[in-house]
Every structure is written in structure tokens, then in C-alpha cells.
């Protein structure tokens, strides 16, 4: 809490990055819309627009964060600025929690309310006579907006194969990143680099196993994104989580490289801690996924 004067607060110089980043988002969004609407003229140009927008976004993120690192190395960030980043990161992670809560909410709603209800109508009147409503479910089938939807036949993903291994991997990676943090606090640089390296390897391993699991689901289990309530929630939840793990791994690689260049000090290393918090966050989300999507 700001109880005493803390000197001069660093206000960054004017910057064009945010504006260009927004422009890139606009181009990518418009390109995406054109690319998914086949009836629209300009449909074929959509994917290229999308890629162009994405390129601008990536370039801007690279430059922007590069600038932040340069400012940090230039000694512009003191305790006061550091506190701002900490509060900011916590608020950002809170918003991410809310985003995942929406998809977990959809999972619970379908499983507890909508699927049993579809099976529970008056037998005299229901169009879903043979539907039992047991979870996992791909729904009773029927006509969807004019096209016939036949209930997908699939085998649900078991919890005690790859998902259990992935749980171990992520929990271990949480330990290795903490070990790296201890190394940083005790100024043991080799422990820091080694810990981060192990964390990155575990992250990459997780992503690879998840990719294999998707391949297995699509080719052998008949479990696809189109497979009704279970398929939709399974792939959207694990997909968004996998996307976040990928982002987290990229962030880990960045701080690994920075550690190897000698950045961060035992007193001053928000960049490291922000990434570590984010990594613990994707870890916790995974535990929710393991329990509610795979296991129960």
C-alpha cells in the first residue's frame, strides 16, 4: 500500500505498438470472418488476410515485449513499478479463470441439466424416445437447422492413460519451475537454467502427448468436435487449455533464454514470477479438466 512517497514513477514514452497491434487484430478478425463464410465474395482472400493480421500481431507482441525487457534491463522498473506488474498479472489471471469458468459452466449445465432433461420428457410426446441421457452423451440426434444430425458414436477418453501421465507431467513441471525459482533466489544460476530447461521440456512433452491424444480421438475413438455435448466440451476445454499451455511454454522459453543471458536478479525478477504464476494457473486448470472432463 502506498503509505509513503515512492519517488518517480516510470511512465513509458509514446509508443505506436498498441495501435498497430489493434489494427492487426482488426485485419485478422475480418480475414477470419471471410474465410469461414463460403458464400461471401472475397472468401478465398480471407485466409491470407488472417495470416497477414496474425503476422502483424506477432511482430507487435515481439517488439512490445522486447521493449519491456529493454526497459527492465535499463533499470527503469523499481519496486513501485514492480508492484503494478504483480497486481496486473493477478488481475489478468483472474480474468482467464473466468474465461475457463464459462466452458466449465457449459459442461456442468449440459451434463446436469440439458442432457438429463432431454431424456426425461413425457414418453407420450417426446421426439427422443430411445434417448437415455447417460453421460458421456452426444445428444439424442435430430434435425439441426434443416440438416439431419445423427448422434455420433464414440468411445469417451479414458482418464488413466495419457491424461494421468499428463497430470504427472504438469505437476512435475510445477515443481521444476519452483526449483528454478529457488535457484534464482539463492543466485544459483545453473539451478535456475536447469530448472527452467526441465520445465520447458515437460511443457513440450505435454503438448506432444495432447496432440497424440487428439489424433487417437479422431482416428480411433470416433471422438470429434462435432460429437454433440461431450465432443464440444471435451475439445473446447482441452483445446483452450492446450493453447494456454503452448503460450506458457513459449513464455518459459523466453525466460529460459533471458536467464541464460544473465537477466533477473534475486531481488528483481517479475518477468520470471509472472510466467511462473501463469504456469501454475494452467496447471490448476488442468487438474479441473482431469477431474471433470476425463475422470468423473
Amino acid at each position: 500500500m502506498a503509505t509513503q512517497s515512492q519517488g518517480h514513477y516510470f511512465v513509458p514514452n509514446p509508443s505506436l505498438y498498441p495501435f498497430i497491434l489493434s489494427a492487426g487484430l482488426l485485419v485478422m478478425a475480418a480475414g477470419f470472418i471471410f474465410s469461414v463464410n463460403e458464400s461471401v465474395p472475397g472468401h478465398s482472400a480471407g485466409s491470407w488476410m488472417m495470416l497477414g493480421g496474425l503476422g502483424v500481431i506477432l511482430a507487435m507482441i515481439f517488439l512490445w515485449l522486447g521493449k519491456v525487457i529493454a526497459e527492465s534491463q535499463g533499470g527503469h522498473y523499481k519496486t513501485w513499478e514492480d508492484k503494478s506488474f504483480r497486481w496486473g498479472m493477478m488481475a489478468f489471471i483472474a480474468s482467464e479463470v473466468a474465461f475457463f469458468a464459462a466452458f466449465f459452466g457449459a459442461l456442468f449445465y449440459m451434463r446436469v441439466i440439458s442432457v438429463p432433461e432431454l431424456a426425461g420428457f413425457d414418453p407420450e410426446f417426446t421426439p427422443y424416445k430411445d434417448f437415455l441421457g447417460a453421460w458421456p452423451s452426444a445428444g439424442p440426434g435430430g434435425v439441426v437447422l434443416g440438416t439431419e444430425y445423427t448422434t455420433a458414436q464414440f468411445t469417451p477418453m479414458g482418464a488413466w492413460g495419457i491424461p494421468a501421465i499428463n497430470t504427472l507431467i504438469l505437476l512435475t513441471s510445477g515443481a521444476t519451475v519452483t526449483w528454478a525459482h529457488w535457484g534464482l533466489l539463492k543466485n544459483k544460476r545453473s539451478q535456475l537454467v536447469m530448472g527452467l530447461f526441465l520445465t520447458v521440456v515437460l511443457g513440450l512433452l505435454f503438448i506432444a502427448l495432447q496432440a497424440y491424444e487428439y489424433h487417437h480421438a479422431y482416428n480411433e475413438l470416433g471422438l470429434t468436435l462435432q460429437a454433440g455435448a461431450y465432443g464440444s466440451t471435451f475439445f473446447m476445454l482441452t483445446g483452450f487449455h492446450g493453447f494456454h499451455v503452448t503460450l506458457g511454454t513459449i513464455m518459459l522459453i523466453v525466460i529460459l533464454l533471458r536467464s541464460m543471458k544473465g537477466h533477473f536478479s534475486p531481488e528483481h525478477h517479475f518477468g520470471f514470477e509472472g510466467v511462473a504464476w501463469y504456469w501454475h494457473f494452467v496447471d490448476v486448470v488442468w487438474l479441473g479438466l482431469f477431474v471433470f472432463v476425463y475422470w468423473l
Binding site: 514513477y9 511512465v11 509514446p14 482488426l26 497486481w87 480474468s95 473466468a98 474465461f99 469458468a101 455435448a229
Partner: protein
């Protein structure tokens, strides 16, 4: 409370000139100004759209527009007014006034702040682009589902829905970034000695708003993402054949949508007591109890969402729960009303334009609150749901409670921001025209709703003709009156009587210790609050 300020200010303004100043700025005042100007422009755009709607509803039968275009107009009007007029206006005030009120050198994360603003114009482009594309034969215009995106209509809708989904995504990122900035600024940038319970009420209002945004905007983002995948990638979130449920969309949407009402109103509830105490020349009544009430309303707002769709078919216990929890909000809200009235009670009041808007706001927003209590009643709601009664109710809360509150804020702080006094006569004329024509627009709509006129329909039965005609004429006056507002702001920015530092005789708070207009960088040395 007393302050000691060091009279040291940077004389130089180190920023690029011309357009580059505005594209690149990291200064909270510049960004606040951009937010406010953007909000004003979009307010006029959204207002023009509804003028066309009222023109169509002037008489029964179809005169001016096609029903499809009518549907597009009402939905885009709502999205613009909520996300691009009211919210940016509140964020603009937060940017301008929070650092000044709590004695901070700037917002805590200035570059992020700039990004928060520059996400808005692309969102506005995305939302309105389908209108222009339709002129060239691409797609069938903007989103035509109303602002609520209800499935399955939105799953079937045209390309406009996709554009609106991504507009909402950009607006959502903007709001989350803005909220992060507000939270960090309030927790980390307060002047030494300014404890939380010494903060100006505006900071409290915005802090709770920011928490609500962080908690609910991502849920909206999730909901529209599910909608997008249902539309294009074959998921079955909102489709019974796959085990989903269109009603789930309503739950997800209103889990965001109800707190959104308080997101729009809490910043106003924050600065309004400050305006009231200024012009009543006595301290605000019940500071602590107001803070607790704001928290209570913020907390309750996330657990009452299903009262927006009582008629959809819910189990009776759910109906009862959502009815009683909704009605419970009226208790802390009534406490706030009591405090506002007690603040001006026996004060030595003067009625400059901000005070006129503030007092008018108490009365009109009161009507909005009371009619909300009627709608919260499950049994009564079955009659009123989806009628013009609802339309009139939420315009009393969001136009009177939101926009008129913002107008009070604009007149209150404009002299501080520009360094000039606005035209008081014109301001008063603006208030009276707005207040009278607003009531004449929406009181008839209460009666229309009670008589059963459904909302969102471009045609109506003959017995509704007179009230609709009155409503339309008053709406045109209301629209035209806002041109005075724009004119007054522009002429105030360009010149006029010099404003003093204090501006208003009874004004309290750190922002009034600075010159009018404040220097480009203020409080580089933090003041000490005792």
C-alpha cells in the same frame, strides 16, 4: 481531509505533435480525452440509428425500412450505446480523474492503457462494416438478433453475427485491459496517506466495476466463442439434438449481462455523490455505508441473472430464488438513494447544470429502479416480459441513470479538463429539453407495454398509434437536444470564460487543487494526504 501539494510541475510537454500524439500517447489525460470523444461520437451514431427506428414507429404499418433492417438497427443501437458510448465514457472519466483524485502521476500501466482505447475503433468498424458490405452485395447486413445474440437465431443469422462476435471480443479485451489498469492504479498508485477508506467515492465505484468486468466479460467472450463454433465448426452447445440447450446461451449471456448493468451504473454512483456534495456545500452523507452498499450491489449482481428470462421455463424454486435475490438488491440501492438525498438535505444548494442533471438523475433513476422491482416479480413479469414496459424501464436506468449521470459528470469536470467554463444557459436548456423529452418519450412506452405492445417489432396494432406518435415526436426532440450538448462541449473546448482551479465553490478533492486545465504531467511528486 487536508492535502499538502508540492507546486512542482513539469513545464515541458514531451509528446509528438499532430496525429502521432494521439496514436502513440501514454498519457492518462490524452487517453481519457480520446475515450470521451469516441463515446460522444458513438452516442450520436447510436442515437441516429434509433431516430430512424422511431421514425418507422411513428405510424402503424411499414413506411421507411424493411423489417430485417429494423432488426439490425435496434441491435446495433444497443451494442453501440452500451459498449461504445456508456462504457468508454465511464472509462474516459476513470482515465482523466482517477489519477488526479488519488494523487497518482498517471495510470499504472500507461501503454496498456493506450491499447485499451485503440481496440475500440476497430470494434466499431467490425460492428458497422456489414452495413457497408451489404451495399456492395456482400452479406445481408449487420447483426439482426438484438444485442443479446440469443441462440438459435444467432446460429442461423448472417455474416453480421460473425462481425458482432469479433467486435464483442475486441471490446471485451479492451474492457479487461482497462479494468486491470484501474485495479492496479487504485491499489498501487494512491498518494501517501490516502487509505482505502479515504478514497473518493468515484474510485470505489470504479474499483467494483473493474472487479465485475474481470469476472464477467470473459464469460461473455466464452459464450460468443461457443456461438462461433456452433455456427462454423459443428459444435452443439446450443442445440438440443446434440445434447446442448439454446437456453444455456441465455444463462451464459446474462451471467455477464446483469452485472453489465451495474458495470454501466457503478461509476456514475461513484461520482454522483461528489457532485451532490459540491453543490449542496456539505459533506457527503454516509460515506462508509455507501461503500458497503456498492460492494453489496456488486456482489448480488452476479447471482441474479435469470430474472432476464423468467418466462423461458424454469423450475419454480429457481424462479423464486432469482426473484427474491433480485429484490434483495433494492435494499442496498435504497440505502444509496437515502444517502444521496441525505447529502443534499438542508444543504445550501445552487443549481448549476451538473446539479440539475444530478437531481434530475436521482428522480428519473428512481423511476427506473422502482419499475425494475415490478419486473423482478415473477408473476407480474409474465405480463410485462418482452413488452415496451421493459424498454421504458431499462431506458430509465440506462439513459437517465447512465447517460444523464455521465452528462452531469461532463458538465462538472469539463471546466477542469478544458480550462474554460461552458455556456451555462445552453447547459440548462440542454438539461430541461433532455429531461422533458426523455419523459415524454418513455412514459408512453410504459403504457404501451402494459397494454401489451411487444418490443422489437417494426409494426403494431392500431390502438397503439397515439402513444407511439407522442413517443416518436419526443424522441426527435431528445435527439436534437443532444446537438446542443455537442455544440456546448466543442465551444467550451475552444474558449470561453477562464475557469478557476477550484471551479465550483464547494468542490472537494485533489483534482481541484491542480490548475484548470491541469498540466500534461500532474503529481509527478505525490501529494501527502493527512
Amino acid at each position: 481531509m487536508s492535502y499538502t501539494t508540492t507546486a512542482h510541475h513539469d513545464a515541458h510537454e514531451d509528446h509528438p505533435s499532430g496525429i502521432m500524439r494521439w496514436l502513440t500517447t501514454t498519457n492518462h489525460k490524452d487517453i481519457g480525452t480520446m475515450y470521451l470523444i469516441f463515446a460522444l461520437i458513438m452516442f450520436m451514431v447510436g442515437g441516429s440509428m434509433i431516430m430512424l427506428v422511431r421514425a418507422e414507429l411513428f405510424q402503424p404499418g411499414m413506411q421507411l425500412v424493411q423489417p430485417e433492417f429494423f432488426n439490425q438497427l435496434i441491435g446495433v443501437h444497443a451494442l453501440i450505446m452500451i459498449f461504445m458510448a456508456l462504457m468508454p465514457a465511464a472509462t474516459g472519466f476513470a482515465n482523466w480523474m482517477l489519477p488526479l483524485q488519488i494523487g497518482a502521476p498517471d495510470m499504472a500501466l500507461p501503454r496498456l492503457n493506450n491499447w485499451g482505447f485503440w481496440l475500440l475503433p476497430p470494434a466499431a468498424i467490425l460492428l458497422t462494416l456489414p452495413y457497408i458490405l451489404a451495399l456492395f452485395g456482400i452479406g445481408d447486413g449487420a447483426i439482426a438478433t438484438g444485442w443479446t445474440f440469443y441462440a438459435p437465431l444467432s446460429v442461423q443469422g448472417g455474416i453480421g453475427v460473425d462481425f458482432a462476435i469479433f467486435a464483442v471480443h475486441l471490446l471485451g479485451i479492451s474492457s479487461v485491459m482497462g479494468s486491470i489498469n484501474v485495479i492496479v492504479t487504485i491499489f498501487n498508485m494512491r498518494a501517501p496517506g490516502m487509505t482505502l477508506m479515504k478514497m473518493p467515492m468515484f474510485a470505489w465505484g470504479w474499483l467494483i466495476t473493474a472487479f465485475l468486468l474481470i469476472a464477467t466479460i470473459p464469460v461473455l467472450a466464452g459464450a460468443v466463442t461457443m456461438l462461433l463454433t456452433d455456427r462454423h465448426f459443428g459444435t452443439h452447445f446450443f442445440d438440443a439434438a446434440g445434447g446442448g440447450d439454446p437456453i444455456m446461451f441465455q444463462h451464459l449471456f446474462w451471467f455477464f449481462g446483469h452485472p453489465e448493468v451495474y458495470i454501466l451504473l457503478l461509476p456514475v454512483w461513484g461520482f454522483m455523490p461528489q457532485i451532490l456534495q459540491t453543490f449542496a456545500r456539505k459533506p457527503m452523507y454516509g460515506y462508509k455505508v455507501q461503500v458497503y452498499s456498492l460492494w453489496a450491489i456488486g456482489a448480488l449482481s452476479v447471482v441474479v441473472w435469470a430474472h432476464h428470462f423468467f418466462t423461458v421455463g424454469m423450475p419454480v424454486p429457481a424462479l423464486l430464488y432469482f426473484m427474491y435475490s433480485t429484490m434483495a438488491i433494492s435494499i442496498p440501492l435504497a440505502v444509496l438513494f437515502y444517502c444521496w438525498i441525505a447529502t443534499i438535505w438542508r444543504g445550501s444548494m445552487s443549481f448549476e447544470t451538473p446539479m440539475l442533471f444530478a437531481v434530475g438523475w436521482i428522480i428519473l433513476f428512481g423511476i427506473g429502479g422502482l419499475t425494475g422491482l415490478v419486473l423482478a416479480d415473477v408473476a407480474a413479469d409474465a405480463q410485462y416480459h418482452h413488452t415496451y414496459f421493459v424498454v421504458a424501464h431499462f431506458h430509465y436506468t440506462l439513459f437517465a441513470g447512465g447517460i444523464m449521470g455521465i452528462m452531469a459528470g461532463v458538465y462538472y469536470w469539463l471546466p477542469k479538463m478544458t480550462g474554460h467554463m461552458y455556456n451555462e444557459k445552453l447547459g440548462k436548456l440542454h438539461f430541461w429539453l433532455t429531461a422533458i423529452s426523455f419523459n415524454l418519450t418513455f412514459i408512453p412506452q410504459f403504457f404501451l407495454g402494459l397494454a401489451g405492445m411487444p418490443r422489437r417489432i417494426p409494426d403494431y396494432a392500431l390502438q397503439f398509434s397515439e402513444f407511439n406518435m407522442i413517443s416518436s415526436i419526443a424522441a426527435f426532440v431528445l435527439g436534437a437536444a443532444q446537438l446542443l450538448f455537442v455544440y456546448n462541449i466543442i465551444s467550451c473546448a475552444r474558449g470561453g470564460k477562464k475557469a478557476t482551479d477550484q471551479v465550483w465553490e464547494g468542490a472537494q478533492g485533489l483534482e481541484w487543487t491542480l490548475p484548470s486545465p491541469p498540466p500534461y504531467h500532474s503529481f509527478t511528486e505525490q501529494p501527502v494526504v493527512k
